[in-house]
């Protein structure tokens, strides 16, 4: 049970480069009057980033498209989306997703 010096250096370095992008826009932009066009652009960021993260998670493996036959996650995404749309419950959606993947892995 110890902390090595090189690991500590990595942790401190990584925490600084993670901290700055998280904090700078919030602190700086909340003090400025942002132009209307930029606000409109920002309003699309949430939808765009969630879709991009999902596309990357569900469709890609190591820089290649995951083959459809092996893509259990993509199949599990279907009931997950349906539950999200019809219940609008975040917890229900997550539980549906986890159970779907577990069942599909048992079957396939």
């Amino acid at each position: 049970m110890e902390i090595r010096w090189d690991i500590l250096a990595i942790i401190i370095g990584a925490s600084i480069v993670t901290f700055l992008p998280r904090v700078l826009p919030l602190v700086v932009l909340s003090r400025l009057q942002i132009p209307d066009l930029a606000m409109r652009w920002l309003s699309y960021i949430p939808v765009a980033v969630m879709a991009a993260l999902l596309g990357n998670e569900l469709l890609m493996t190591d820089g290649k498209l995951t083959s459809l036959k092996e893509n259990i996650e993509l199949f599990a995404a279907l009931p997950t989306f349906l539950v999200a749309i019809f219940t609008r419950s975040l917890l229900g959606t997550i539980i549906t997703g986890v159970i779907s993947v577990m069942l599909l892995r048992l079957i396939m």
Partner: protein
């Protein structure tokens, strides 16, 4: 008098710290399982429980912690690891910028404290809540952020401790919790705005671009490229109409 009213509203149940804690609960399972997995992976790559815990306290970013574990195991240099973490977490710039209009009423220090604990998940919950408002409550945001933060630290510690006995966390489908959470947050976001057609075009563009881009660059760069381009496409369709 008006000042007082505003004050009262800010402190009502809806905007309280406790409400923030409650609004974090649905996402706990997602990050619990990812944090647990991060702890297990950290243990497998030879990091001590203390090192893993310190990482969660100071870095607090799942993708970064997986990458550090992987690169430490592969004996990467300190500079290479820190640089990779920087690239992977650059998307926080966009999340932080998108939240900034809702915290105009706070001091720089208070906004900094909120930004420090910003994650994909707390961003998703906060931006959904912000849908029909002009400002977000500081106590509510702190309730949300701190709950997620403690959950993450505990999850990675548990993973680090139990890592020696668990070899395959994927068997229980828990690795999918993160994707499922993104699905939930995306759907809530889409249904909460009155821009379904334009939003769907943005979603489809983001997916196509992320697939194309990740064939030529890293997944995390691809996410940034796709987010920036898809948001730009959204603004362009708005202009054409």
């Amino acid at each position: 008098m008006q000042q007082e009213n505003v004050q009262l509203r800010m402190e009502s149940d809806e905007n309280s710290f406790l409400q923030g804690v409650k609004d974090c609960v649905p996402t706990l399972l997602g990050y619990l399982s990812i944090g647990f997995a991060a702890g297990v992976v950290g243990h497998t790559s030879g990091l001590s429980v203390l090192e893993i815990t310190l990482m969660s306290i100071l870095i607090y970013a799942g993708s970064a912690q997986f990458i550090i574990a992987g690169m430490v195991a592969a004996q990467g240099s300190i500079a290479a690891i820190v640089f990779t973490v920087f690239i992977v977490n650059l998307r926080h710039l966009l999340l932080s910028a998108a939240l900034s209009p809702y915290f105009r009423h706070l001091t720089a220090f208070k906004t900094m404290m909120i930004g420090t604990l910003l994650t994909d998940e707390t961003f998703g919950v906060a931006i959904n809540r912000a849908a029909n408002t002009k400002a977000l409550s500081e106590s509510w945001m702190n309730g949300l952020n701190i709950t997620a933060y403690l959950n993450w630290i505990l999850a990675t510690m548990a993973g680090a401790f139990l890592g020696q006995w668990i070899t395959n966390p994927e068997r229980f489908g828990l690795d999918f919790a993160l994707s499922a959470m993104f699905i939930g947050l995306l759907v809530l976001q889409l249904l909460g705005r009155q821009k379904l057609f334009r939003d769907l075009v943005v979603v489809v563009s983001a997916v196509i671009i992320v697939v194309g881009a990740s064939m030529v660059t890293s997944g995390s760069m691809a996410v940034i490229i796709a987010t920036v381009s898809a948001a730009t496409i959204g603004v362009l369709i708005e202009r054409w109409k």
